[in-house]
């Protein structure tokens, strides 16, 4: 069986859902004939036609707004933002409309829209093409934020997002698109939203992270295993709302917790994870909870050396785990 890349897994998920459910349609800038800026919708235009793979004007608020309207009317739109950096004009639609319509209408209306957007740096994208904006959306009840870490998860979770009856923000690490590949089952599968996954069982240090950093943490853990440092790795998969039970279990497992994100440290998702651990795991903790994150700088620099300094990588993760293990 051939290996599937992260982006191919995403295309497959959309193709399967487009095939199964005629209410599913895709909209976004250049998603049609061009097949998307990253080619996530490659081939879908030819297969499903212009009525279901819709090119939109350069207006993110319209992608979200049109999608939300269609969703409330019974459709299952999949909107694509070219980069999460460009989602900001659509925030009002997403936060004030999509996330709140079920509550506001006392359950009469709901909004099954999926909004896909590539995030993250490490691709020389600089200021407007490298941001991680998940934290900005992560205190909006009514919204779900899914950030898969592997091709297998990307496919199973995107299908779940499309089928979900409420809005889902689906964030894909753009460096993972062609960097991560693996064999995935041919038969259909759907993964649950809201559930974290234990990627590795260990007894020395617990690492909790999401997205591309899961892969980097796996590499670090494999290196550390040679030195008998046994890493327990939890992939959050859904970063809002968080899988509290899984976080508590993972943190309690070793009592030494490293939280990793590529986002700026202050106010990031992992701060909330730390709070959950502080609330529930005090008597299991054997070391201060540690965070490894991007610096609190306004943007990802373009200069390669500075970008490298900004990004979390497997060496940094390995060093942080090592110092926790020694503590």
């Amino acid at each position: 069986m051939a290996e599937t890349t992260y982006i191919q897994a995403i295309t497959q998920a959309m193709r399967e859902e487009l095939t199964q459910d005629e209410n599913v349609f895709v909209l976004g800038e250049d998603v049609g004939a061009k097949g998307g800026v990253f080619r996530a919708t490659d081939g879908l235009f030819d297969e499903f036609g212009a009525d279901r793979i819709i090119d939109t004007p350069l207006t993110e608020s319209a992608i979200a707004g049109v999608g939300i309207g269609a969703a409330m009317y019974g459709m299952r739109p999949v909107g694509e933002m070219q980069f999460v950096d460009f989602i900001l004009p659509a925030v009002n639609q997403i936060v004030s409309e999509a996330a709140k319509i079920r509550y506001r209408s006392n359950n009469d209306w709901h909004c099954p829209i999926t909004i896909r957007a590539p995030y993250g740096g490490g691709v020389s994208g600089a200021l407007y093409h490298s941001q991680s904006l998940e934290a900005m959306f992560s205190n909006q009840p009514g919204l779900k934020i899914v950030m898969p870490s592997s091709p297998y998860d990307a496919k199973g979770l995107l299908k779940a997002a499309i089928r979900d009856n409420d809005p889902v923000l689906f964030l894909e690490h753009k460096r993972a698109y062609r960097f991560l590949k693996e064999e995935i089952p041919e038969e259909e599968y759907v993964l649950p939203i809201g559930k974290a996954a234990v990627k590795r069982e260990g007894s020395d240090v617990t690492v909790i992270t999401y997205g591309l950093n899961v892969h980097l943490a796996e590499q670090a853990a494999a290196n550390l295993a040679e030195d008998d440092i046994d890493v327990h790795l939890l992939d959050l998969r859904t970063v809002y709302p968080l899988d509290q039970e899984a976080i508590i279990q993972a943190a309690s497992k070793t009592g030494k917790v490293l939280l990793v994100t590529e986002d700026n440290k202050e106010g990031s998702i992992i701060g909330e994870v730390a709070a959950i651990i502080a609330e529930h795991c005090l008597f299991e903790l054997d070391a201060p909870v540690e965070r490894l994150a991007g610096p609190d700088a306004p943007a990802m620099p373009y200069a390669a050396n500075l970008e490298k300094e900004f990004m979390v990588d497997e060496t940094k993760i390995e060093q942080s785990i090592r110092s926790l293990a020694l503590f």
Binding site: G255, L282, F283, E284, T315, S323, L326, F327
Partner: protein
């Protein structure tokens, strides 16, 4: 000037910790390289820690009487020669710290350092994490009994868990264990003298308690007629001393006899290793040597390869060194069986405590002239009792009885005709 670390050296293969008995130096003293800094006591051996550099003592971090792990930072020196910063006699943890600093200086300067005091030492030994406190409460543990493997000697959750998994079954088996270990404190009456349990005495005490608690002892004694051996030894002792410069003792003959018997009954020539027993091929005979308040157990290595003369020479050397405090840690390790010369104190019957991890100990009592009946006639014979203590977990009466009978046979067969020294 450069600041150099002084660390607790490794004073022997199995030594993991040592007690600073006495500092020969104080802060501000100038010392030459190789000058003794401190007198350190490890399991049954005293040794000196020499200075690794010439310089001035800047700081001493460990008090006299304090026990620290091998590799622990015990002080700092100021050294004239300007070498690279702080040199380290690596312990693995420190090595990794160093790697980290060189690779990612920025990373190291980050929060990690805020809560981690530099260097090793024991400064975190009593800083307990919530997890450790919780476990200690739950299981009613005295944390001072646990050795910390974390940074600065911190007790980690894993250390406690490891301690619990090691101790739990024993606690269940003998619930009175802890009571027995801590007898009610005795009142000090006028004229009484309080003797603190320090130094070698404490090591002996700990080892004895451990052996006595862990090992189910059983005992047996045989009576051996060594009249012929005594005759022979009396005959040669003067010429031997003239020739060799030291006395030939009875004990050398006993070592020889027991060694030969051990080669035939290797079940007694064993050591415990975790849950296994290792049957040793070499016979390394531990012998007890007393010196004032202290007790040393040096080892005659490869006794099976030595003649009686060679054994006598080894005993002479080890005993002399022990009495002058000159034993190396190597002289004290690797024993596979212990022969204890209780006869020197006039004892005719005693029950030895096995020297862990060995599985048996044999006491050689006084040789006493006694009336004995041989062929229905009374005779005056030189008799000696040999008392064996055995670890009843793995040895039993049958095999030990055979072993003792064999030792008796060998000893009773030692006479002028078959001994040529």
């Amino acid at each position: 000037m450069a600041k150099k670390e002084i660390r607790m050296p490794k004073l022997g293969e199995s030594v993991t910790e040592g007690t600073i008995n006495h500092w020969f130096v104080k802060v501000g003293d100038h010392v030459e390289e190789y000058d003794p800094l401190a007198d350190v006591m490890t399991d049954k051996v005293n040794a000196e820690v020499p200075a690794s550099f010439t310089g001035t003592i800047q700081e001493l971090l460990v008090e006299e009487g304090e026990t620290v792990e091998v590799g622990t930072l015990i002080g700092y020196m100021d050294v004239e020669a300007d070498e690279d910063e702080v040199s380290r006699e690596e312990s693995p943890a420190i090595q990794q710290e160093t790697e980290k600093t060189t690779e990612q200086p920025k990373q190291e300067a980050k929060p990690v350092n805020k809560r981690q005091p530099a260097g090793g030492g024991q400064q975190n030994k009593t800083r307990y994490s919530p997890a450790v406190m919780n476990l200690a409460n739950e299981h009613n543990l005295d944390l001072t009994n646990i050795t910390g493997t974390g940074l600065g000697g911190r007790i980690t959750r894993k250390d406690v868990e490891k301690y619990l998994s090691g101790n739990f079954s024993r606690n269940l088996d003998t619930p009175k264990d802890t009571e027995a270990k801590t007898p009610a404190p005795a009142d000090l009456k006028p004229g009484d003298k309080e003797i603190p349990l320090t130094g070698v005495r404490k090591v002996i005490a700990d080892n004895m308690v451990r052996s006595s608690n862990e090992i189910p002892h059983a005992w047996m004694t045989v009576e051996v007629d060594v009249t012929n051996l005594v005759k022979y030894r009396d005959k040669i002792k003067n010429t031997f001393k003239e020739r060799e410069g030291f006395s030939i003792t009875y004990f050398a003959f006993f070592v020889e006899a027991v060694t030969r018997a051990l080669k035939e009954y290797p079940q007694l020539n064993c050591v415990w290793k975790d849950d296994k027993i290792i049957q040793r091929n070499d016979v390394n005979m531990s012998i007890a040597v007393a010196k004032d308040e202290e007790l040393f157990v040096p080892v005659i290595k490869n006794a099976e390869e030595k003649s009686i003369q060679g054994i006598a020479k080894s005993i002479h050397h080890l005993a002399t060194n022990a009495r002058h405090g000159r034993l190396n840690p190597e002289d004290m390790t690797g024993g596979t069986f212990t022969l204890n010369n209780t006869g020197t104190f006039g004892s005719v019957s005693s029950m030895g405590i096995i020297n862990h991890p060995q599985v048996a100990i044999l006491q050689v009592e006084s040789i006493v002239k006694r009336p004995v009946i041989i062929n229905d006639m009374l005779a005056a014979r030189d008799m000696v009792n040999l008392s064996l203590s055995l670890d009843h977990r793995i040895l039993d009466g049958l095999i030990c009885g055979r072993f003792l009978t064999r030792v008796k046979e060998i000893l009773e067969g030692m006479d002028e005709d078959n001994l040529q020294i």
